[in-house]
């Protein structure tokens, strides 16, 4: 028996809002830039001299201060982030980049700016549709972010520098893709919770500081020949879900999460980025075409199709669609989404959740019943 485990190295990264590796990189003179949405391109925040940190809010127990400002009817991810920001948890970071992607993140930007103003706080004006005009617009937006980074942090934001950054990012993506591919096997050596730990950890730390560990893990996974037994293969869909603990509950109940079509999961985050001499344009085109978030107005059917294709590719028995409470884009879309997937014969369970897991028992019961309803 040779069952792989995730090294503590990755788990420890997730314990803190800002981990030791970030501090180390900053001591070496690099600047840490926080971001909160997939529309902020990682390669652009990985130009030489800066690195991206996808903001998580581990350890938040309540959000009383954030509720005073954001109100209690805003998504709990944004409230949790603001709560930690008001406790100065992110003060060591050098800047923030937001995308005007949804109402909640926009208001997080406003409140953060008012309450604990970051020295660098940039907003990307994200179009709500694809097409040539939108691509041109977003290219200009990404260029102006590049220029702002160059001005504030002295980085080289030239197309050549960005192309180099994309190349390095692709190297990271290719390792993650290799690991993700293993999840298609009958008996995958990596569980969903393990994979989410890797993804969350590697977006919460400087990539160059996790690459060796990732490669070593990939080698060990290739040699492992035994996965965890499971009752059903599950595709996780929906909004932001950066907590491996949530997936762990699903897996403890017997559902193996084989892929995540979420903003923080494997699809579409691991798609390679074309390497060419128009990197800004490429990032814009890819963001508009690939990151299929319900805030994009014209692509409901594309999102349904993407889930159906992933169900086939990963041989999922069913879909768990989890949406963050108060998120209007996912919330409103989930009704017709459930109908479409059912129409296509895919068993689906819709769950609403808070950012911090609160009722594990209830989640287990729902998953249990779902697996049983699929005859598993």
């Amino acid at each position: 028996m040779n069952q792989a485990v995730i090294p503590d190295f990755f788990r420890q990264i997730l314990d803190q809002p800002v981990n030791n590796l970030v501090d180390q990189a900053q001591e070496q003179g690099k600047k840490a830039i926080a971001y909160t949405c997939s529309y902020v391109p990682q390669p652009l925040l990985s130009l030489d001299g800066v690195f991206p940190i996808r903001v998580r809010a581990p350890g938040v127990v309540g959000t009383p201060m954030a509720d005073t400002y954001l109100s209690s009817v805003i998504c709990s991810y944004t409230r949790s982030v603001l709560e930690l920001a008001l406790e100065w948890a992110f003060d060591s970071l050098d800047g923030w980049v937001f995308a005007a992607s949804c109402d909640h993140l926009r208001r997080l930007y406003d409140n953060l700016d008012y309450l604990n103003k970051p020295a660098f706080n940039h907003m990307i004006d994200m179009p709500h549709r694809g097409g040539a005009a939108a691509e041109k617009w977003l290219t200009e937006e990404y260029k102006s972010l590049g220029a702002a980074l160059a001005e504030s942090f002295g980085v080289d934001a030239s197309p050549q520098a960005l192309s180099r950054s994309i190349k390095e990012h692709n190297a990271y993506l290719s390792v993650m893709r290799e690991i993700s591919k293993m999840r298609k096997q009958d008996n995958p050596p990596v569980t969903g919770a393990m994979f989410q730990t890797l993804l969350a950890a590697s977006t919460s730390a400087p990539k160059d500081m996790v690459m060796d560990e990732l490669k070593a893990l990939l080698a060990r996974l290739r040699e492992s020949n035994e996965g965890k037994p499971y009752r059903a293969r599950v595709l996780l869909a929906g909004s932001h879900c950066d907590d491996p603990g949530y997936i762990d509950v699903i897996e403890k109940t017997g559902g193996l999460v084989v892929a995540e079509r979420t903003c923080t999961g494997s699809i579409p985050a691991l798609a390679p980025i074309p390497e060419n001499d128009a990197p800004y344009e490429t990032l814009a085109g890819q963001a508009l075409a690939n990151i299929s978030c319900p805030r994009m107005m014209e692509s409901f059917q594309a999102r349904v199709d993407e889930i159906l294709e992933a169900v086939e590719e990963y041989r999922a028995d069913g879909v768990v669609l989890q949406t963050m409470k108060f998120c209007d884009t996912w919330g409103v879309e989930s009704g017709p989404m459930v109908q479409e997937l059912r129409k296509a014969g895919v068993p689906i369970l819709k769950l609403e959740r808070e950012y911090t897991m609160s009722s594990e028992g209830q989640l287990q019961t729902r998953i249990q019943a779902f697996l049983e309803s699929m005859g598993k």
Partner: protein, 472 residues
């Protein structure tokens, strides 16, 4: 709380005649739908919302019941025109059923008219019907929730979705929507498109719009929309016709700006529904219509008359207020009551206050550019999009401009992105020593906060913060 809780004004025979006259006019503006014949009537009167709207003269009662003299006449006139404006919308979709374009509230419907299409603003149902019957939307909110829409989504798009799911929309050649005013409103069109089974076009409006680049982008969106409509509907762009619509809008705008200038005076010679409700229907739902111009012109005339006679609209104006955020649809009597109880004159609301420029009608391009600017800087859009400053700056400007005594913030629970501004706003008001009343309520659902509770909140604010003595 409805009419029975308001104090009836001591009406003279003249006041009574005013009431009777506008009641007849209101009934007449809906009765004219009969001209479309019994078949059409049977078809449209299947819609519960239309049957409820047929009782819209309730709304008129509210405006006249508590008021006397010229202010009563002006309010009654404004309300009758509001009912007439809604009648026009329904009349036009009956007259040209193959040309109906269902559209979201923040798209330039002037263009549809320029193309010979019959625009019908989807949200007008969820806005207008609860004004007539407070709990009307609740059935439709439940329908949307039963189909999977979360309970926390704004009740206005939820009501609109429920009406669509219940099959109560007219047949349409096309749907046109946008990414405004908020995520919930935008997302609701996924459901509308599925239920109405019409092709749907979506306009994209940038987040930051105070720059030429954003206007250029949006103008290109408008051009794309026109080409799409020509492909999918019988409508064809007639630039001369659009010019007429735009000129009409400019005229109405001129009158409206003059009204605003006049009501800066203390006491204000006009207030209440003649300001906010008239604007909501005529400038948001039916802009550029001759009725809109006529209404604004006549409200202006009446405002001047009240001024000439000395004094203000209210018998005793003690406070001046603005209502921010969407109006209290389930409790339109709020300001009639506040007028009576504390002498509060409502001078503007978020939807009234727009910075619409005049439309430059010198060329097709200049018209599109002005229309683009009207939409991106339109009421609500300007506050729900863009940075928080857009919201705050307008309010502080209005506070000064109208010499207000306080700000009433309608804290609609479903309007998440404006709820997320209240904390900051409260502190900014405190710094400026501006009394701020944040009222908890739900735009269209009395089960969340009842009108009685809304009134209690207002009473508590007026008596504890403003130290107001009730007039009655």
């Amino acid at each position: 709380m409805r009419l029975q809780d308001l104090k009836k004004a001591d009406a003279s025979w003249k006041d009574k005649a005013v009431h009777a006259r506008y009641r007849v006019e209101s009934i007449g503006s809906l009765a004219r739908l009969l001209r479309h014949g019994p078949g059409k009537m049977a078809e449209i009167f299947r819609w519960d919302w239309l049957r409820t709207l047929a009782g819209a003269s309730n709304l008129l009662d509210m405006a006249v019941y508590t008021r006397t003299g010229r202010y009563r006449e002006a309010s009654a006139y404004a309300l009758a025109e509001v009912i007439g404006g809604i009648g026009d919308l329904i009349d036009s979709i009956c007259a040209a059923p193959d040309r109906v374009v269902i559209h979201e509230d923040l798209v330039p419907s002037e263009i549809f008219r320029g193309m010979g299409l019959a625009p019908f603003m989807a949200e007008v149902i969820g806005i207008a019907v609860p004004l007539v019957k407070a709990d009307w939307a609740e059935k439709y909110i439940d329908i949307a929730e039963n189909e999977g829409t979360p309970p926390d989504t704004c009740s206005l798009p939820k009501c609109t979705m429920g009406v669509a799911l219940d099959g109560q929309f007219p047949k349409s050649a096309a749907i046109v929507t946008s990414n405004m005013p908020c995520d919930g409103g935008m997302a609701s069109y996924t459901i509308l498109e599925r239920e109405l089974k019409s092709p749907c076009f979506r306009l994209d409006i940038p987040y930051n719009f105070y720059n030429d680049r954003a206007i250029d982008y949006f103008v290109s969106e408008l051009k794309r929309m026109i080409a799409w409509l020509e492909e999918h509907t019988p409508g064809r762009m007639d630039w001369d016709r659009l010019k007429e619509v735009c000129i009409e809008r400019n005229k109405a705008m001129e009158h409206e700006l003059e009204i605003w200038e006049l009501i800066r005076q203390k006491p204000a010679p006009m207030a209440g529904e003649a300001i906010w409700l008239a604007q909501l229907i005529h400038m948001v739902a039916t802009p550029g219509s001759p009725r809109a111009t006529r209404t604004m012109k006549n409200i202006l005339k009446r405002t001047k008359k009240i001024m000439e006679n000395g004094g203000g609209a209210l018998p005793e104006e003690r406070y001046r207020a603005v209502l921010w955020n969407p109006p209290t649809l389930v409790f339109p009597e709020l300001f009639v009551w506040a007028e009576q109880q504390y002498g509060v004159a409502l001078l503007a609301d978020m939807l009234t206050y727009h910075r619409h420029p005049f439309i430059d009608v010198s060329s097709p391009d200049s018209m599109l550019r002005s229309l683009a600017q009207i939409i991106v800087e339109g009421p609500m859009a300007r506050h729900t999009r863009g940075p928080a400053e857009n919201f705050f700056d307008d309010l502080f400007y209005l506070y000064e401009y109208f010499s207000l005594d306080m700000i009433w913030m309608a804290g609609h629970i479903g309007c998440k992105n404006t709820m997320a501004l209240n904390g900051m706003f409260r502190e900014r008001c405190r710094e400026r020593e501006i009394p701020l009343f944040i009222m908890n309520y739900d735009l269209s659902d009395t089960r969340v906060v009842s009108p009685v509770d809304m009134k209690k909140q207002a009473e508590a604010f007026m008596e504890t913060v403003m130290k107001a003595e009730p007039l009655l």
